[in-house]
Amino acid sequence: MSFAKFGKVSYVSETKLQEFETKLEAGKIMGTKCKKCGRLYFPPRADCDCMKGEMEWVELSGNCKLMTFTTLHFAPASFRYEVPYTLGVAQFEEGPTVLAPLSKELGEDEIKIGMSLKLVPVELMGGRMIYELKKLESQ
């Protein structure tokens, strides 16, 4: 099953989590939850680390708070035309965390640790799918 459309550059093409990409295309941010121990995962995992449970897909609100961020001015070869770009780690209101790019509509001086953001699916040119952290009012 293909996972080749996820991310600005893909390093993984096959996964048991292919459905994540399909749901992302449908506008949904999905995590997985263990039916046995109840642990919620984002990024989603196909197996719980309790090693007992079956997993189910759960939609996340996307509402989150920024924990930390950085703006890159020097990038890997495949990202050299993208600089500067900002990456952040944010915590969902449901608990798990995500590492994601911050939308370019956010100026670096507007970005503050602790600010509320929303993780939203974004389709790039060529049909690639990513998610981005956006300002709440821009929804």
Binding site: F42, F69, R80, V89, A100, P101, I113
Partner: protein, 351 residues
């Protein structure tokens, strides 16, 4: 080998440590053992990214303490100049989770910058305090003929240098480099036979943290694997942080050195920036740290770094460090962090 007074046929196994994804040579233990004349003895590669030779030392120690071998060579090396800086960043970006993090263009400086921003927010650490670490390590590099950078820099030089991943600037980052370092480990009997000044492994710690940043938190201001590895090493050596006379800590970035001060117990949590600002990690102050130039100014040939830290400590504990000698140094600590903080090896040496 000349320094250890052993010959190649006395070395019973070699452990070759490198982050093999930088190497053009596949499975480099083969060519290195051949070149050093270490065939037909056992040889193999150990990879734990930047902590490769710290981990190699632990394996060598286990070989000797199990009685399997009496003398083992731990060879750390890296040849990074075969790749361009952007290609190296591409490889390094893949030190994070390739499924969920690398697809967004992560780099090593970016990962540590995320820690820097978090530490600054939580404890009020400043860019000037980060710069002080670079200034110190460049100062000591001028006293180490084997260091890559041989010029002193100022706080202003650091602050004005090119932004790499905010708040980390060019001088907050270590340099990719080529290099090698070798540790000869021997059993007590062999060591006493070949030298009057043996240096003993008193404590070892090795721990791991989740690779994905999203599996860490809630704040990004400490490396759990460092705290855990240090606890093990201090326990085994039966010492406390204040007993350490000289430390080599993994300063891949200035922020890392500051966090390491705290994780290793050289200061209270949150006081790492202050320790740097007050110059408390210079020779002659509270605890001399990285007075060989550290990764920032000596260079960071990934697989060689852990072994190079041990070399510095051995010189110090034997009283052979010249201008940078810590008077009466008896206990040295090496802290070797792997990748984005998922492996950490702490080694305590004693005279």
């Amino acid at each position: 080998m000349e320094d250890a007074q052993v010959t190649t046929n006395e070395i019973q196994a070699s452990i070759v440590c490198s982050a093999t994804h930088y190497d053009k040579q596949r499975t480099p233990a083969g060519v290195i053992a051949e070149y050093l004349g270490l065939n037909p003895q056992p040889t193999f590669n150990v990879e734990a990214v930047c902590a490769s030779s710290g981990v190699g030392l632990r394996i060598g120690w286990s070989f000797i303490s199990s009685g399997l071998h009496d003398t083992v060579a731990v060879v750390g090396f890296q040849k990074m100049t075969e790749l361009s800086s952007a290609e190296v960043q591409e490889v390094m970006g893949r030190s994070g989770d390739v499924m969920w993090e690398s697809p967004f263009g992560t780099t090593m400086p970016a990962y540590f910058a995320l820690y820097a921003k978090s530490h600054m927010q939580k404890y009020g650490t400043t860019e000037e305090q980060l710069a002080k670490v670079a200034v110190k390590n460049h100062f000591y590099a001028t006293k180490n003929p084997k260091a890559m950078f041989q010029e002193e820099i100022t706080v202003e030089d650091v602050l004005k240098s090119r932004m790499i991943a905010s708040p980390l600037k060019r001088y907050d980052c270590c340099a990719n480099s080529d290099g090698a370092a070798c540790i000869i480990l021997a059993s007590e009997d062999v060591a006493r036979k070949v030298t009057d000044t043996p240096v003993w492994v008193a404590g070892l710690g090795l721990a791991s943290s989740p690779m994905a940043l999203t599996s860490r938190g809630p704040s990004y201001a400490s490396f759990d694997c460092s705290v855990n590895a240090a606890k093990q090493a201090y326990g085994m050596a039966r010492i406390k942080p204040k007993d350490v006379d000289i430390a080599e800590v993994h300063d891949c970035f200035t922020i890392t050195e500051i966090i390491n001060y705290e994780d290793l117990g050289f200061c209270e949590r949150g006081r790492g920036g202050k320790l740097a600002e007050e110059g408390q990690t210079y020779l002659g102050s509270k605890i001399p740290v990285n007075i060989d130039g550290g990764l920032l100014a000596k260079g960071h040939p990934v697989g060689a770094t852990g072994a190079s830290q041990i070399r510095t400590l051995v010189k110090q504990l034997r009283g052979e460090a010249g201008e940078t000698q810590v008077n009466g140094a008896e206990i040295g600590l090496a802290h070797n962090l792997g990748g984005i903080g998922m492996y950490c090896a702490v080694t305590i040496l004693k005279t």
